[in-house]
């Protein structure tokens, strides 16, 4: 090993070593001559021995033959690439795009799904726990736990030596003016023992600070927060207000510590039982004995030798037991034999877990797309190489005839593609750096910085992609070089006149076309699906709505005071000139829904028909949201407490509950069948709730005056003009009303909705970008091949023209050849796309993956592009000079 290293070092300074050896031998000779006795019968030369052997054998010590060959080949490659700059630029640019796209996508997917959290000890042994069960024939997955369930798992499993619970959330930190809502994490005391860390300052939690019913009021600061808010000074023992309570600072986490939470670095960590035990209601205080609050997340570390499968089985057994225990409290829960609950010890990152988000799945697809782009680029480059290899047939044959070994020739060809691929790789990294920033904005949360510098994993992938490209593009021409038939190639008659078809090249061309078609079909599908998402009526207008939430933050208010405050906020908002309508609501689309038991006279079990959610809202709700009333009337100020109970139901709900009948005037009983009738007074258009894709939109609306104002968590405000400039103005105005340390947070509703559309938007953007890229690359490939064929056929075309062919005939001849390639590619691609359709369909929004419009459109585009790419060579073909041809004959 050591010897080889020094051999390698010597190889780099071999010229110097040669010179030194010469000097040394010279010195030896001089010394011999000086010391020679005149009477010595042995001459100096004889004593000296064989100098040539000395030099040759010494040299062998620092020559590494394959390295010498490699160097030669690289030089040769660089020389020949410089001789044809157009060819080289084309190849390098194509590969740079292909490699760059892949490196960037890998960087994104790796961050999203696979890259281990920093500082985590034995990352391979740590799992997140997922729960799955069947609900009305649908498989549900969650990674939110009840604290009681967390205790159950600790008690009833034996596969783990460590458990931790954590809950990332936002809480107001600080006092007075400096109060800001920050990302914090409530964690169990065991949490930090999953990591190889020591606190930067102070200590971590002790087990007795994390106990039920309520843990200690202690806090550990995030490193960034400690630096920005305290300048990194000693803060141990100081008090920090978090939420409504004072906490004592006991430690600071080290730099780079992120925990296992996605999202922004946490500003502070508090014991999870301290967080959970702060609830004021009696129900909230039972969080560790009942299964009434599923909120926190859970990680486990497996004991040595326990596989993830074994761990999952162990967890599942415990989960069934825990499910049955839960049924003791909630008899309406289906028995475990029906729900079939099971648990999975899965990936830490939920994007790689058993039920990844649409974004994560889309990201994986886009990675596949990037790989296809690289394949197309490779096919293209291989084709260009092949064209050149054919052109160089005579040169190659000559070399072979002169005794160059076929292996060396193949190595030369491979080296050439390697050099091109590596240059492409270097450029590709630049492409990936720029493109990756765009991609990470699409896929990754904003606080993740995407930089390839120092990102070894991504750089390695880029290099691997380059080597793959070199291999793929180099192998075919290399094989061709070694298979050249000397006798045929050297024959004088075999000049460029004979038009040679190469099956390999046709296959490559067709493959390129087919792959492009697949990507373009994908692009078309995603674009149409995005259009559908955009065009879909949500059941409300989002464009001028601001969502506000107020937090009391520890100010204790009685029920009537609290309701008074809500009314006051509502009136203040309504009084602002910029506000058109305002309404207090109990839930916000996509964020939360509420449901309760519902009884309808004449229907046995309403629950069996689906999930009916309700929205409690103050008067003016429908005007604020822009939800249209189809029949009857919305509720208004006259439907106050004490007045007859009224409700508005969604159209879907009306149709399901009273098919063929008018819903107006019907009676529903909310939460118990002993409740008085709530009369339906209006039917509203369907509106989305939790998910854009859920077709069932059973929803009813109750005037909050008639239910419970204290459940009015959110204030919705419709502005007269675009809300961007007024969000802060309205928020500040309302915050002034808040007593004590209360505060108000505001979001334009658009931002909430846009998040939900993102996966389709991202899919459409990426497929279009990569599909376009693929089309351009494929078009260049077609152009190059047709152009090359025309050059090859110039002689034949000249003869045709001499025999009276019109330029129109020649153009048709060449273009039809291009079209044949394109048609073959389109057919193959369409078949493949049809096959792939069922895999991509779940990612689309109410869009068939076999949409004929998309397929036909793509076929037309490809044929058009093929025609365009063949036109220039075709026109060149008409310039074939019959005179020249005949003279050459």
């Amino acid at each position: 090993m050591r010897e080889w290293l020094s051999r390698l070092l010597d190889w780099f300074r071999r010229d110097k070593l040669d010179a030194e050896l010469r000097d040394e031998l010279q010195f030896h000779r001089h010394a011999l001559e000086r010391d020679a006795r005149p009477d010595d019968p042995v001459s100096t030369r004889q004593r000296m021995g064989n100098t040539t052997i000395a030099i040759e054998q010494s040299r062998e010590r620092w020559s590494i033959p394959w390295l010498d060959h490699l160097q030669q080949d690289v030089r040769h490659a660089v020389r020949s690439l410089r001789r044809s700059p157009g060819f080289s630029t084309g190849v390098i640019a194509t590969l740079a795009l292909g490699i760059g796209a892949n490196a960037a996508m890998f960087g994104v997917v790796d961050r999203l799904m696979y890259r281990p959290y920093p500082l985590l000890r034995d990352a391979a042994m740590v799992n997140r726990v997922y729960l799955r069960w069947t609900d009305r024939d649908a498989l549900r997955t969650t990674y939110s736990f009840e604290y009681r369930r967390y205790l159950d798992f600790q008690e009833w499993t034996s596969s783990f030596d460590r458990f931790a619970a954590f809950f990332p959330t936002n809480l107001a930190i600080g006092r007075g003016e400096a109060t800001r809502e920050r990302e914090i994490a409530a964690v169990s005391a065991s949490y930090f023992s999953f990591f190889d860390v020591r606190p930067a300052l102070g200590r971590f939690f002790t087990p007795d600070e994390d106990v039920t019913p309520k843990g200690a009021q202690v806090v550990i600061l995030g490193h960034g927060f400690w630096q920005s808010e305290y300048g990194g000074r000693d803060v141990i023992g100081e008090t920090l207000q978090i939420g409504s309570q004072p906490f004592t600072i006991i430690g600071v986490v080290p730099k780079n510590f992120t925990g296992v939470t996605e999202g922004k670095p946490r500003a502070a960590f508090i014991p999870i039982t301290t967080f959970a035990g702060s609830g004021s209601s009696a129900e909230a205080k039972r969080y560790y004995t009942r299964y009434n609050w599923g909120w926190m997340e859970m990680i486990v570390r497996r004991k040595d030798g326990v596989s993830a499968e074994q761990a999952s089985r162990d967890l599942s057994t415990a989960y069934v037991r825990s499910w049955d225990a839960e049924r003791g409290f909630f008899p309406q829960l289906p028995p475990s034999s029906v729900a079939k609950p099971y648990a999975v010890a899965g990936a830490l990152k939920t994007a790689a877990g058993p039920d990844p988000s649409l974004e994560a799945r889309t990201a994986l697809w886009v990675t596949g797309v990037a790989l296809i782009v690289l394949l197309i680029a490779c096919a293209n480059v291989a084709n260009l190489f092949l064209s050149r290899a054919l052109r160089r047939r005579r040169e190659v044959a000559l070399r072979l005839a002169l005794g160059v070994s076929r292996a060396r020739l193949a190595a030369k060809t491979l080296t050439e593609s390697l050099v091109l691929a590596l240059i492409g790789c270097a450029l590709g990294v630049v492409v990936a750096q720029v493109g990756g920033q765009v991609l990470s904005r699409l896929f990754l949360p904003e606080w993740v910085t995407f930089s390839l510098l120092g990102d070894t994993r991504t750089l390695l992938v880029a290099i691997a992609a380059a080597l793959l490209a070199a291999l793929v593009t180099g192998v075919v021409p290399a094989l061709l070089a070694t298979r050249a038939d000397l006798a045929v190639a050297l024959k004088a008659g075999s000049r460029e006149g004979t038009y040679q078809r190469s099956r390999t090249r046709v296959a490559l061309l067709v493959a390129q076309g087919a792959l492009s078609v697949m990507l373009l079909v994908g692009a078309g599908l995603f674009v149409r699906s995005l259009n559908r998402v955009r065009a879909m009526r949500l059941g409300f207008d989002t464009d001028r709505i601001i969502l506000l939430r107020h937090e009391l933050r520890g100010t204790a208010l009685g029920d009537s005071e609290s309701v008074g405050l809500s009314r006051q906020l509502l009136q203040a908002a309504q009084a602002m000139p910029v506000v058109e309508h305002a309404s207090f609501v109990s839930s916000v689309p996509f964020w939360s829904t509420s449901s309760t038991r519902l009884y309808v006279p004449g229907i046995d079990s309403v629950q069996r028909l689906g999930r009916f959610t309700y929205q409690e809202a103050s008067a003016d709700y429908f005007a604020t949201m822009g939800t249209r009333i189809l029949r009857g009337r919305p509720f208004g100020a006259e439907d106050r407490a004490g007045a007859p109970r009224v409700a508005v139901v969604s159209e879907g709900m009306a149709r399901t509950l009273w098919p063929g009948k008018d819903a107006i005037g019907q009676c529903i009983r909310v939460s118990a069948d002993t409740m008085p009738c709530t009369t339906v007074v209006g039917v509203a258009e369907d509106a989305v709730q939790q998910s854009l894709t859920d077709p069932k939109r059973f929803r009813y609306y109750l005037p909050i005056d008639q239910t419970d104002w204290s459940r009015g968590y959110f204030l919705l405000v419709r502005t007269r003009v675009a809300p961007e400039d007024h969000v802060e103005e309205i928020r500040a105005a309302l915050q002034r009303i808040m007593p004590g340390q209360g505060y108000v947070t505001a979001w334009p509703l658009d931002t909430v909705i846009d998040e939900r559309r993102r996966s389709w938007e991202v899919g459409a953007t990426m497929f279009v970008a990569f599909g376009g890229l693929a089309l351009v690359v494929a078009a260049i490939g077609l152009y190059a091949v047709i152009g090359y064929n025309v050059t090859q056929r110039m002689h034949e075309l000249g003869v045709r023209i001499a025999l009276g062919a019109q330029s129109g005939d020649v153009v048709r001849l060449v273009i039809s050849q291009g079209m044949r390639f394109a048609l073959a590619g389109t057919t193959v691609g369409a078949v493949l796309a049809l096959w792939a359709a069922r895999f991509v369909e779940p990612l689309l929004f109410q869009q068939s993956a076999r949409d004929p419009i998309v397929f036909v459109g793509v076929a037309l585009i490809l044929l058009l592009v093929a025609a365009a790419a063949s036109t220039a060579p075709a026109l060149r073909a008409t310039r074939a000079d019959p005179n020249q041809t005949l003279r050459a004959e």
């Binding site: 020094s6 010195f27 052997i53």
Partner: protein, 110 residues
């Protein structure tokens, strides 16, 4: 014909001889050759055709180091110095050599 009979070295012994010579003091190639010849009464003759490749090989193996110095008569010469791993190697070869000689002696003695 040379009056002094020239003996071929047993394979592998050249390295050992060179290391042994260098274990006394640093020397240039010529001095190494002369020293071996002198100590063996000119029976062993070291030709540069084998000496210099051997020196390079041992240098790459890390047994000896090479540096250019002024020789006593003010000429630039490359001096070789034995390293710690070279001394270890010398020990290994010496004991192996001893075993070999003893074995040959036993065979020849019977």
């Amino acid at each position: 014909m040379a009056p002094n009979p020239r003996r071929d070295l047993l394979p592998g012994t050249l390295d050992m001889l060179v290391l042994k010579t260098l274990s006394v003091q640093s020397m240039h190639g010529y001095a190494i050759a002369r020293q071996i010849e002198r100590l063996s009464d000119d029976i062993l003759r070291i030709e540069e055709g084998s000496l210099y490749p051997a020196l390079q090989r041992m240098r790459q193996k890390g047994w000896i180091k090479a540096e250019w110095r002024q020789s006593p008569n003010n000429q630039r010469a490359r001096y070789y110095t034995i390293t710690a791993s070279g001394r270890k190697q010398l020990g290994v070869s010496e004991s192996g050599f001893e075993e070999l000689i003893n074995a040959i002696a036993r065979v020849m003695g019977t």
